[in-house]
């Protein structure tokens, strides 16, 4: 197995591959370290291409002895070319990585697939998480399929769709009166005393590895090539940095050539600690109290903020934020040009892409991949009232009286 150890991202101390997430020496975050030197390029590529249609096709790059079997394995979501969106923005090529097409309709199925497999390998029987909603859905569903008990902690003011889409699986849903950062603090405290696998606390180093698979998939779906730019949302900064880490691993190994894309991060103006730090030139983030409709990105104290800042700067990208109205407009723009209905986080990402285009930050020849992380059906309030519905009696007359024609009818031939 190429996975060798857990290693501190700050001081490089190493630890066994166990349920541990903090460096004892300096309190830095731990990450899985691999030795890929034994991997043969051709046979690795063949194993990927012959692998299952889910994230386990990338098992060589995940921290397991062999591919664990999972019922709800995530991944191999569509990468679709969005020419109408590109035309609207005045750029050559935009692709949408639609990660709403996962078992519970968000990218969180990837991280939970990995975290749960590791939790079972380590012998845990109870799985828990601190969540802004999408993770709650995924933990509840995957533990149900695996026959494990789950405790899901969410802010009490979460969208109803995300609460309903969690409790339905039989999870213990705990609605905490506070922000996500309060929920996260509580779970961090609880993880010290309970023999539970908190997917994004004590098994977070494994969980985070799941997001690398978005990077692998984008590259594989483009024919083992990299795009020029990735536009992706930032909440904790984990997904943003891990997509790059996955691509860098393949570059180092020779599976890909060229260099990392520019990484453009997207935050909501009502919770933009990383975008603010980017603009101010800081290398750490000052925590904020979130106030935004993009609740899945409402992390005021982002754990991977410093690394997201490093990546945006070193890759020639950036980090921008957009208002709630721009988020709503972003949802509509993606829906009306690509036929993809995304949740508020995807509205943030699409709106930031539009902002970059309007500001002239994009080279017209760029190949851009927009990472859409969740489904619009989870945040219906964001589009309520944004269009008219024509209510009529069931008669031709009433239809013709009330429903204006948007464009002229085709001329008869």
């Amino acid at each position: 197995m190429p996975a060798e150890a857990l290693q501190c991202k700050e001081c490089r101390s190493t630890y066994e591959l166990e349920a541990r997430y903090v460096c004892d020496e300096c309190f830095g975050p731990l990450e899985v370290a691999y030795d890929f030197s034994e991997l043969d390029l051709d046979s690795t590529r063949r194993r990927i291409q012959a692998g299952p249609a889910n994230i386990w096709r990338y098992a060589d790059f995940l921290p397991f002895e062999s591919s664990p079997s999972t019922v709800l394995a995530a991944g191999i979501t569509p990468l679709v070319r969005a020419d109408r969106l590109a035309e609207e923005l005045g750029v050559r090529e935009v692709w949408v990585k639609n990660d709403a097409a996962n078992p519970t309709h968000s990218f969180k199925d990837r991280v939970v697939t990995v975290a749960l497999a590791k939790a079972r390998e380590l012998g845990y029987e109870v799985v828990a998480c601190a969540s802004t909603g999408n993770l709650a859905n995924a933990v509840a569903a995957h533990t149900a399929a695996a026959g494990l008990e789950s405790y899901v902690f969410v802010p009490a003011d979460l969208e109803e769709q995300k609460i309903l889409g969690t409790g339905v699986y039989g999870a213990n849903v705990v609605a905490v009166r506070g922000t996500y950062d309060d929920v996260n603090r509580l779970c961090t405290e609880l993880s010290g005393d309970r023999d539970w696998a908190f997917v994004n606390v004590n098994v977070r180093p494994y969980y985070a590895e799941g997001s690398k698979t978005i990077g692998y998939e984008i590259a594989e779906q483009l024919g083992f090539e990299l795009p020029d730019r990735i536009v992706a949302p930032i909440a904790s900064g984990s997904l943003f940095t891990k997509v790059a880490r996955g691509m860098q691993e393949w570059l180092d190994l020779g599976l890909l050539s060229g260099s990392l894309p520019a990484f453009s991060g997207a935050q909501a103006a009502g919770c933009a600690p990383v975008a603010d730090a980017f603009e101010a030139g800081w290398d750490i983030c000052k925590p904020v109290r979130p106030d935004t409709i993009a609740k899945s990105l409402a992390i005021g104290n982002p754990a991977d903020g410093p690394y997201a800042l490093e990546l945006a700067r070193s890759s020639g990208g950036g980090i921008d934020s957009v208002s709630d109205q721009e988020i709503r407009d972003g949802i509509r723009l993606l829906a009306e040009t690509a036929g993809i209905f995304t949740e508020t986080a995807g509205g943030v990402t699409t709106a930031v892409l539009r902002k970059l285009a309007q500001r002239g930050d994009l080279d017209p020849g760029e190949r851009i991949v927009l990472v859409i992380t969740g489904d619009g059906l989870k945040t219906l309030d964001a589009v309520r009232g944004s269009f008219a519905v024509h209510e009529i009696d069931p008669s031709r007359e009433d239809f013709e009286r009330h429903v204006p024609e948007r464009s002229a009818a085709p001329s008869p031939v």
Binding site: Y21, F27, G192, N200
Partner: protein, 91 residues
């Protein structure tokens, strides 16, 4: 006066396994931490660097992040609970 400090599992190897420590005679969070550094060998290097907290350390007073208050100058009162936690979870 006295303040109770909650010690995370990651630091209990330097507190002799103690999950809580009581600090008397402190007026700020900085004083509380200095009191702990005097008592527990090796604690300072774990969580502090050049007189400030390391970047992945969170400290709370009564559940509130001290970065929303006055940082290490945040005042503490009799009966306050100070919590130290790693800042590397979540998301």
């Amino acid at each position: 006066m006295s303040v109770i400090v909650k010690i995370p599992t990651q630091l209990r190897s330097v507190t002799g396994g103690e999950a809580e420590a009581r600090v008397d005679e402190a007026t700020t969070v900085g004083d509380v931490l200095d009191g702990l550094y005097d008592r527990f060998d090796g604690l300072r290097d774990r969580i502090a660097e050049d007189g400030d907290l390391r970047r992945f350390v969170n400290v709370y007073v009564g559940g509130e992040d001290i970065r929303f208050l006055d940082g290490l100058d945040t005042s503490v009162e009799d009966g306050d609970e100070v919590t130290i936690l790693p800042a590397v979870a979540g998301g």
